[in-house]
């Protein structure tokens, strides 16, 4: 044993950028979040060398969990090679030395903006969702202190009223992404701006989901095997995006969340939004044997929890 082995080399920055106090605070807040599913836990939220609103909430969680053994996947809109995902991945590896992957099955930590991967995540995996606005009640109550009281009282009547008004005016729920959900039969939660296609993936999931808003300084958690239901009236079920007819130009896949690409002729082409998954499909078609996991929606579009999604009902006038 020599002295050089006992001491740590001087470094300009702490491992994982955050100092030990910040990491400890975040881990404690995460544990609290796990103990109270869907509850928004305030945290101090340190400034990072990434612009606020660009994933600093998710990044703080990732940096407090990452280790040299971690395998990190970072996606933005489903894409690993999106410029912001590439930038965040570059920062995480620069500060932690962790390995990275585009393969959902190989990753231990997945930081994502606006998407959940198509392949079913497993026990032990952690999904970290970047959150712009953690408060699902914002549209009905912009005052944070009052919104907290409403959560404490389970006072969600105004949320139901919003849904009802949408049905009256539009004959359907008009919330696009960030569709509000009820977690563990207790807290109404914003699932972050994931499309409705991804919302059911949070229900009774094997993996841990941590949602973190750096700018708004709050995080919340969906622990494994927790009930997550979209807010819906029993006679007008929640609907995911209708992309039944869409076929991926790259892979020929169907019933996966697609990007619509406008074409000069006025039409559109489509491509699977989850680039890690699409790359594996392409590899398979080339004759390689990638490890492709089961997907949340099968090739006929059936969700893996049978009966969770219901056929559409158009309310009567």
């Amino acid at each position: 044993m020599s002295l050089t082995k006992l001491v740590t080399a001087q470094a300009d920055y702490s491992y994982g950028f955050l100092d030990a106090y910040a990491k400890r605070e975040l881990r404690r807040r995460i544990l609290k979040g796990i103990a109270i599913p869907g509850y928004q836990v305030p945290y101090a939220s340190r400034e990072l060398p990434i612009a606020r609103g660009w994933g600093t909430g998710g990044l703080q969680v990732t940096l407090s969990l990452v280790g040299p053994e971690s395998v990190v996947k970072v996606i933005d809109q489903g894409a690993d090679d999106s410029v912001n995902a590439a930038n965040l991945r570059r920062f995480v590896t620069r500060m932690s030395g962790a390995q990275t992957t585009a393969d959902t099955r190989q990753a231990t930590l997945i930081q994502s903006r606006h998407r959940i991967p198509e392949e079913v995540m497993q026990e032990g995996q952690v999904l970290i969702l970047q959150v712009p606005d953690p408060e699902p009640l914002r549209a009905v109550q912009s005052d944070l202190a009052k919104a907290r009281e409403m959560h404490a009282d389970s006072d969600y009547g105004q949320m139901w009223l919003v849904l009802y008004e949408q049905l009256v005016r539009f004959k359907r729920y008009m919330q696009g992404a960030s569709y509000p959900v009820l977690v563990h039969d207790r807290y109404v939660m914003s699932p972050s701006p994931i499309p409705r296609w991804d919302t059911p993936m949070l229900h009774q999931a094997a993996h841990l989901t941590i949602l973190s808003a750096g700018r708004e300084k709050r995080l919340y958690v969906v622990p494994p095997y927790t009930n997550v239901y979209p807010l819906e009236f029993t006679d007008v079920p929640f609907q995911v995006e209708d992309q039944r007819e869409w076929v991926c130009l790259r892979t020929g896949a169907q019933h996966k969340f697609m990007n619509e690409i406008p074409q000069a002729d006025g039409g559109s082409t489509y491509e699977v939004s989850d680039t890690g998954y699409a790359d594996k499909l392409v590899a398979q078609q080339r004759g390689e044997q990638p490890w492709i996991g089961r997907t949340y929606y099968d090739d006929e579009g059936n969700f893996y929890h049978a009966g969770y999604l219901k056929p559409p009902v158009i309310p009567e006038t």
Binding site: V83, E245, Y297
Partner: protein
């Protein structure tokens, strides 16, 4: 397993950063020193909003960011968050400040006197084009020193008003405060209503432009008060910490600070609004002190609630969130477009969307007939005809 193969995105962002630095010109130690020496007010603003007193680093941040203020503030803040807190400064009373400028609009003269100090307030705002001529540039005219040096310390105007019983409310006893117990907005989650310390710290770090906009709205009449500048100070302050061995206070250096106090009349005397920041920034402090009073109203204007003011004047958060809209949002947009198409189809039967939906429905029926047992429910039907290009032969009923 290795690093994800470098794709277009990664290469692009590296080249984009290089291009930025190529176009903005080279940063040298000399340039940083010149920014620090010749632009103290800009450096002060970056230090104040960056919540880190380090003139050299603030000048570096400005140079590195090509003068982009929000980028410079973010650079300082991000650097600050890596620094450990090794000591707490002792509380400082305003009458201990080494004051260089101190004015009150409430009285013609005040105990200790009005001290104009360095200011451009009464300058003619004529662009000095002659400073561009030749090599000499500006030739500063010497300041005529007074026979007797000005006093370093001055009493507080508010102390006189307190003695007169004119002020609403009392000051908390200063001696009892342990600096380590003061809530720290950089280390604690902020909750509303915020502790007073969080409010004043947030205002000290707040965006100058943001605070000015909201404060100006109050002054123009959207607020409920009329501010009178009770006292405005520019000063240098000795930062005193307790010696870890002897327990004696000693100065670890001097920082430029400024503070403003505004008063407004109320039922039980004058209410005081207060704001202070690192560096000299008068316009921000007068606006912030005004907002301090507005936020304490029992029914403030919606744009002057504590929640509204403190969240929306945070320079890093507001600027970061604003520019984040440059990031791709095509997933959320697709999700909303799905709703909009369905609504257009339902509301306007003659629309293209309605024809597409009708075409889809026919395809579904066809598929369902071909595949007994499958029902055309949400995400279960399949078709090989792309919906967007199929044209119906007849109008839907």
């Amino acid at each position: 397993m290795a690093y994800v193969a470098t794709k277009g995105g990664e290469e692009a962002i590296q080249q984009a950063e290089r291009l930025f630095h190529t176009l903005k010109g080279r940063v040298t130690p000399q340039l940083v020193r010149e920014i620090e020496m010749t632009m103290p007010y800009l450096v002060d603003r970056v230090m104040g909003e960056g919540a880190l007193y380090a003139p050299e680093l603030a000048a570096l941040a400005l140079a590195q960011a090509g003068g982009d203020l929000y980028e410079a503030v973010l650079l300082l803040r991000a650097y600050r968050s890596t620094q450990p807190r090794i000591a707490y400064a002792r509380p400082l009373n305003a009458d201990q400040l080494l004051t260089v400028r101190r004015i009150s609009a409430a009285f013609k003269d005040i105990p200790g006197g009005q001290v104009l100090g360095p200011t451009l307030d009464y300058s003619h705002r004529l662009l000095r084009l002659d400073w561009l001529d030749g090599e000499a540039g500006q030739q500063p005219e010497p300041v005529n020193a007074d026979d007797a040096p000005a006093a370093p310390n001055y009493p507080l105007v508010a102390d006189w008003q307190r003695q007169q019983g004119l002020i609403d409310g009392e000051l908390p006893p200063v001696e009892s405060i342990d600096p380590a117990d003061i809530p720290d907005v950089t280390r604690d989650p902020i909750a509303m209503p915020a502790p007073r310390a969080h409010r004043l710290q947030s205002l000290a770090r707040a965006d100058t432009g943001g605070v000015l906009a909201l404060g100006y709205a109050s002054m123009r009449g959207y607020g409920f008060i009329h501010p009178t500048v009770n006292e405005l100070r520019l000063a240098e302050a000795d930062v005193a910490v307790t010696h870890p061995v002897t327990g004696e206070p000693f100065s670890i250096g001097r920082v430029r600070v400024s503070q403003a106090e505004i008063v407004t009349s109320g039922k039980s005397g004058y209410k005081i609004g207060f704001a202070a920041t690192m560096g000299w920034n008068e316009v921000k402090l007068i606006a912030a002190a005004t907002l301090d009073v507005e936020m304490s109203q029992s029914e403030p204007h919606p744009a002057h609630t504590e929640d509204f003011v403190l969240y929306h004047t945070e320079p890093i958060e507001s600027s970061g969130f604003c520019i984040h809209f440059k990031l791709p949002h095509y997933v959320t947009f697709a999700s909303s477009m799905d709703n909009v198409r369905k609504v257009i189809a339902a509301m306007y039967p003659d629309s293209r969307e309605a024809r597409n939906v009708a075409a889809d429905a026919r395809t579904e029926r066809k598929v369902a007939e071909q595949q007994p047992g499958s029902s055309p429910t949400n995400g279960t039907a399949a078709s090989d005809s792309p919906a967007e290009t199929s044209q119906p032969e007849e109008q839907p009923s």
